[in-house]
Amino acid sequence: MANKFFKKKVHSKQDDQLFRELCRNIGSERVKRDGASQLLYSRDGSAFPGGIPGIVCFPETTQHVVDCIKAANRHDRSFVPRGAGTGLAGGAVPCDAPLVISTTKMNSILEVNYEKQFAWVEPGVVNLDLTKSLSEFGFHFAPDPSSQQSCTIGGNVANNSGGPHCLAYGVTNAHVLAVEVVLPDGTLVQLGDIDGHMSGYDLRGVFVGGEGTLGIATRIAVKLTPNPPTICTLLLDFMDVADAAKTVSAIIAAGIVPAAMEMMDKRIVKVVEEFVKVGYPTDAAAVLIIEIDGLSDGVRLETEQIKKISLDCGARSVRVASSDIEREKIWKGRKSAFGAVAQVQPGYYLHDTVIPRTKLVEVLEEVYEIANRYELIVMNVFHAGDGNLHPLLLFDPQEPGVMDRVLLAGEEIVQVSLDAGGVLSGEHGIGLEKKRFMENFFSKEDLAAQKLVKDAFDPDGRANPFKVLPSGASCSEVNHLSQLPDGAWV
C-alpha cells in the first residue's frame, strides 16, 4: 500500500552529512536510508499510518548505539529506539524524520547464571528464544506477551510488557534487575544491579515502561524464574458472562492467585474453535482458562477449590487438562485468537484498558452496547485475572467511513473503563495512541509531575519525541489517526 506521507522528501544536505558520519562511525552496512527500509520502519504493529523515518541504523554493539545517539545530537536530530516493531500503541512510529535505531541485531544472550538466577541479554533477543534457551535448565522468562514469538526483550522493557502469566508473576518490571542504558545525551549508565537491592532512586524502575523516551537499553539483566514442578490447566464454560466474571472475583477473594486467568466471550470462542478445533464449547457464553502451578499437593488443592467456586458461581462444566497435549490444546485456542478473527473481518482494532476485577460484568455490558451502537462486531479475549480488557473491534477497512466509527467506539470504551475506576493501559502503553486520553485520567498537575521524569532524563526531548505525554507540539504526520487512508493495515 502506498503511503501518502512518503511524498514528503526528507533527504536534506544535513541528512547527507549525518548519513556519512554514521557510515563512518558504525559501518555503512549498518546504516540505511533507501525507500524500502524507510517504508518498513515507518510503522509498527499499531493502527497508525507510517511516520517519516530518517536514517535507519542497525547497531551491533553498545558503542554503536552511543555513536548513533551522539551523531544524532550533533546534527540536532531526534531518535526512535525500535525492537521488533510489534507494539500496538504507535510507540515505535517515527515522528519528524528521526534516526531510527533498531536493536534487532543486538541479539545475544551474554551470560546466564543459574545459581543466582539471572541472565544478561542484549535488547534484540526475542522473548520466546530466551525462554526456550533456559527451558532445559528448568527456568523461563516470565513475561509472555501474545507477540512473544517475535517481540524482543528490549521492547518488553520499553513497554513494561505483560502477558497471561503476569497475573501471578508480575509484568516485565518485576523481572528486570538492571539495565545498561545509553541516555539521550549519549552517556552510558547502568541502572539497578543484579541483586535488585540498590538504594537511591529507582531509576531502573522508571526506565522500564518509559516507551523509549528516556534512552535506549543496550544490555538487560533479567531474572530467571524457576519452572514450577506442577502445572494444571482448567477450561471452564459458562452460560452467562456474569457468572464467569463472578468466578474470577470469587477465586481471588478466596486467596488463590492463579498463574493465569483468561476469559473469552462467545463470539471469539466460536471463531477460534472453527479456526483451530481445540474442543472449546461453542454454545458457551464465556469460557475461562485458568492455570495454576506450584507444588503438586497445593495445585491439587487449588484445582478442587476452583472447581467448587466456579460450579457455585454457575459454571456449566470444568475440564481439567489431563496431559501436556491437552493443556497445549487449550492454550492453542487462546493464542490463536487474533489470527482467527481474520475469518470474520479483514481488520481489527485491539484495545487495552484495565478495570477493577469487580467491575468486569458492567464494563463488558457497556462494551457490547457501544459496539452495537456503532454497528461494529466486538469480541473479547482478555486477562480477566487482573482486569486487563482487550476488546477487539472488527471491521472491513474497505468500508467507507468505518474507521471513524471504530475510533469513536474505541474512545467510548476507554472512557467507560476510566469511569469504572480503571486505567488507560495495562500492557500496550500510551505511545501515540492514548496520549490524547492522558488528560482524562491525570490532572494537569499530575502530568506536569510526569514531565519532570522526561526532563531529568532527556531535557532536550530527543528520545522518541511526541510519545506518552500530551503536549503542545504534535507529531504532524501521524497525529490524525481518524484520517487513516482507506485500506490501512491494522
Partner: protein, 297 residues
C-alpha cells in the same frame, strides 16, 4: 477539611519540611538539616476489597494496624518494619524484608500514590489497578526516595494472600543446596555455619518440603525466625567474610551489628539521580539533608 487537604496545607508551598512517621528509620540517608518544619501524614484505612487484592491507606497508618486489618481477610502487604513503623515510612525507605522471595518487593507493591510535591500541589501517581502502564511510573521513583521527591499522603497497595502455614527450619546443608531442593522458599538465611529456611504456603506443600529437609538433617524451629537478624544492612558479596552477621541469600544482603558503609555509585548514576531530585524539588525544601544514595543497601 479532609485529611489529605489538611496534609497538603500543612506541607505548604515554601519552607523546609519533612514528615515524621514512626521514627523507626529516622537515621537512614543522613540527618535532616536544622530548622525544618515537621508535619504528620494522615492515618486510617480508606478502602479494602479482598477480591481486588488492593488496599487504600493513608501514609501515617502504622504497619501493625494495616496488617491487623488485612489479616482478618487472610491477606498481607510486603511492607516490613518495626512496631511503630508507618506505611509511608516503610515506602519511603523502600527496603525489602527477608520474605521478598514470597511476598515481592516494596517497589512492586505501590500501585498509586497521592503526594504533595515541592510546589505544594497534591499529585496522583500510578493508578488503582493491579496492572497499569499509563505514563511514567512515578511510584517507582517515590519508593526509596526518603521523601525527597514528594511527601505521600495516601497510597493504594497491592495485597497478597497470607500463607496457610509458615515454618522455619535449621540445618547444616549449604543454602545453595537448599535452594535447589525447595520450590521458592520464602526466606533463606545463612550465618556461615547453619542455614535457616522459611517455608510457606499450603500446609500439605509445606509438610512435604519439611519432610524432605528433615531427611537431610534439618530441624523444625517454629514459625518465628530462629536467628536474630541484626539491624545494619551491607551488600553481601564476599562469602568468606560474614563478619558475625547473617546473610540473606535471596537478596545478597548481609545483616550485621556494625553500621554499614555507604556503597560507591558511579558518577553517571549520581548525576542522573541529582537531576531527578533537582527537577522534582528545585529549591531542595523536601527532607533537606536526606540523601537516598547515602541510605545503604
Amino acid at each position: 477539611m479532609n485529611d489529605l487537604k489538611k496534609f497538603k496545607e500543612d506541607v505548604g508551598k515554601e519552607g523546609f519540611v519533612a514528615v515524621v512517621g514512626g521514627k523507626t528509620h529516622w537515621e537512614v540517608g543522613g540527618a535532616l538539616n536544622e530548622d525544618i518544619r515537621l508535619v504528620f501524614a494522615p492515618t486510617g484505612i480508606d478502602a479494602f476489597d479482598p477480591s481486588e487484592m488492593t488496599v487504600s491507606v493513608k501514609a501515617g497508618t502504622k504497619l501493625k494496624d494495616l496488617d491487623q486489618e488485612l489479616a482478618r481477610h487472610g491477606q498481607e502487604v510486603c511492607l516490613e518494619g518495626f512496631l511503630e513503623t508507618t506505611v509511608g515510612g516503610a515506602l519511603m525507605v523502600g527496603r525489602d524484608g527477608i520474605r521478598r522471595n514470597r511476598i515481592g518487593s516494596v517497589r512492586e507493591t505501590l500501585l498509586q500514590a497521592e503526594y504533595v510535591n515541592a510546589q505544594g500541589e497534591l499529585i496522583k501517581a500510578g493508578g488503582p489497578t493491579v496492572k497499569n502502564v499509563t505514563g511514567y511510573d512515578l511510584c517507582r521513583l517515590l519508593v526509596g526516595s526518603l521523601g525527597t521527591l514528594g511527601l505521600i499522603g495516601r497510597v493504594i497497595l497491592r495485597t497478597r494472600p497470607r500463607p496457610e502455614k509458615s515454618v522455619w527450619l535449621q540445618g547444616e546443608l549449604r543454602p545453595e543446596e537448599v535452594r535447589r531442593m525447595c520450590f521458592q522458599p520464602s526466606s533463606l538465611l545463612w550465618d556461615g555455619e547453619a542455614t535457616f529456611v522459611q517455608l510457606e504456603g499450603y500446609g500439605i506443600d509445606v509438610d512435604l518440603e519439611v519432610s524432605q529437609l528433615k531427611s537431610v538433617g534439618f530441624e523444625e524451629r517454629g514459625n518465628e525466625c530462629p536467628i536474630k537478624v541484626p539491624r545494619f544492612r551491607h551488600k553481601f558479596s564476599n562469602r568468606s567474610c560474614l563478619d558475625g552477621g547473617v546473610a540473606d541469600i535471596h537478596s545478597s544482603i548481609l545483616y550485621t551489628n556494625t553500621e554499614a558503609s555507604i556503597p560507591q555509585y558511579p558518577e553517571e548514576v549520581l548525576c542522573l539521580g541529582a537531576k531527578v531530585r533537582d527537577t522534582f524539588d528545585p529549591t531542595g525544601r523536601l527532607n533537606p539533608g536526606r540523601d537516598p544514595y547515602k541510605a545503604g543497601p
